[in-house]
Symmetry: C3
Subunit: 257 residues, 3 copies
């Protein structure tokens, strides 16, 4: 079954649901494009007060859809287009959205999941949620804009451990680092997201948009990496290490680096 | 009774006291101007080693003096003058002061209180202190320079929750986020501030001034928001939402946004 | 006995050992220069996957070698050369190294020790480790680039307390602030560093280098302080306060500031 980014709304609250059954909602290229379409649309909606972002089936998002990677990751131009257009297109649309965004995080929140959560203003998670970006096992680095976004939100120290050590963190650890606003028993995460969304609907909406516009200017995650840097950032596409990481994963064997 | 910003000193230690009886030391326009006068003066004093900033009557500062707001908040030029001259004038004078500043925080520390505490180098609080900036209930955003200052000191994640969700945090939560250096039983806060001030008087004063000058350069809170941004930042002055928030508060009813 | 910065390696893992017997591995000028030589060399090594940085004899590093200070600290040009060339030369070589760096911290980690640890990607410590930069007792400020580096890694709030209050923090406090990734019983620190290093050797090395290059660009600690600022930063060299702090320490008496 192919993945989808679904949009629904109830009263003043919208819900964006990441859905990729059987893959813990891993993001396919098509889903990244849908993410942009959905948030470009939400930014135009004047009848909404906030957006809950969540995943289907007890997980937030397990990362990218690795089954697609051999199609484009080993060619530099295609890899750049994937990260700078598809992935960053979706994330930038989230960052540009003036509505308050609530991440309701259950289960796996890895790689693309951490990136999507990093675009949200308020993040809550279930006790059993797990966070990381263990792409060092897959033989490739995080793209520059994505690393900047994640480092800003999870903190430099945790970002280094995620990227360099491939460490996975518990919800309690992410709460301690300031990434999460609350950790709840799994059964309560959805309810708490709804309570918070309901609270947001009673608060001043113009003030929220203006505060988001101000806070966005304080965060360097939207623009500052020069195009010159992005130009060199994907030269690793056709390297042996990159191929080994992806191929080993798809062959269900350990990579040898 | 009108509010005052009082200055006293004992030996090498100055104390600045926010005092507005019956209003939990809410800052009036006159008090913001006094804050600037007091810290401009302190910056010239060569006989002092540190400054304790505290509030009278068991509270730090509950925010702005909302009773004054109808006089100037609904006119864009007047609103800009209030934030950019009066409020920022006071906060900038604190940030420019080369003496180590100790915030002794008891009770309410809201809005303007969080901003004033954010200008201090060392912050300690009583167990029952409460922190927030729930102006989303009042129909207006935090001014850009003030939001930048607060986000830098309380962290982006907590700042978003304060501003977008109107959340109020306990002293323990602010300790966990790194905003506070110590949380103490209420009766001990003043004593701990005095002990810390005493300690500061034994340390090298020129080194403290030079360290403050260096650390100030690392923080982007003093200048970086372009005037162009500030120019648009107060266009909400005459909006229905802004009027509803302020008027509802003063009428002691819930706002409807 | 004079101090040394020793380099060894076993398989894919290098170890850099700070060694200054009888001085808790305090950094002499010669050791700062050796630090640069060692890391410039490591950056050229293509046979290594990571570097453990540790100290000899149960301590990481107690700071600078104060016995040397009267030779050069009271002359402005000599003081600038010490900080900008010797100290920053060593630290910049560490920051420029593309290999993942693991700090294995035991015992004293003060001043120069905090700076060296701040250049490492992953930091773990023993329960009894102590962290600080109490140079306010010695009558001098932290040099600008060093203060920027430390403030970025320990956080502004803790950096202010270290520099202005001369506070010393426990490993648990540094864990809470995000500086450390793990706190362990003293006997386990070395073992945990080895386990983490072993783990790093199984992960993609090119990805690690690219991630380090990206993360380095997000941190402002390598360049942004203008030369103009550094030019004024050492004017305190010949001051009475500076002389009093250093001389009192060397005379084993309390300074009077």
């Amino acid at each position: 079954m192919s993945g989808k980014v679904q949009l629904s709304s109830q009263g003043l609250v919208a819900r964006v649901t990441l859905s990729h059954p059987g893959k813990f909602n891993a993001m396919s290229r098509a889903m990244w494009r849908e993410l942009k379409t959905v948030f470009d649309h939400l930014q135009q909606r004047t009848d909404l007060r906030c957006v809950i972002v969540s995943g289907e089936g007890g997980h937030f998002c397990a990362g990218g859809d690795i089954a697609e990677y051999p199609d484009f990751r080993f060619d530099e131009a295609a890899l750049r287009a994937f990260h700078e257009q598809d992935v960053w297109g979706g994330l930038a649309a989230m960052l540009a959205c003036d509505l308050p965004l609530l991440a309701q995080i259950e289960g796996n929140c890895m790689g693309a999941g951490v990136e999507i959560a990093s675009c949200c203003d308020i993040r809550i998670a279930g006790q059993d949620a797990r966070f990381g970006a263990p792409i060092a096992r897959l033989g490739f680095p995080m793209a520059p804009r994505e690393a900047q976004l994640v480092a800003c939100e999870v903190g430099l120290s945790a970002a280094r451990s995620m990227l360099l050590e491939a460490m996975v963190f518990s919800a309690d650890e992410m709460m301690a680092s300031g990434f999460l606003r609350a950790v709840l028993p799994g059964a309560d995460v959805k309810l708490d997201a709804q309570v918070r969304a309901q609270r947001l609907t009673t608060l001043a909406p113009q003030a929220a948009r203006l505060n988001k516009q101000t806070l966005r200017r304080l965060v360097t995650s939207t623009a500052p990496l020069a195009d010159g840097f992005a130009a060199e950032a994907y030269a690793y596409a056709d390297s042996a290490e990159h191929r080994e990481g992806i191929n080993a994963f798809l062959s269900k064997r350990l990579p040898v680096f």
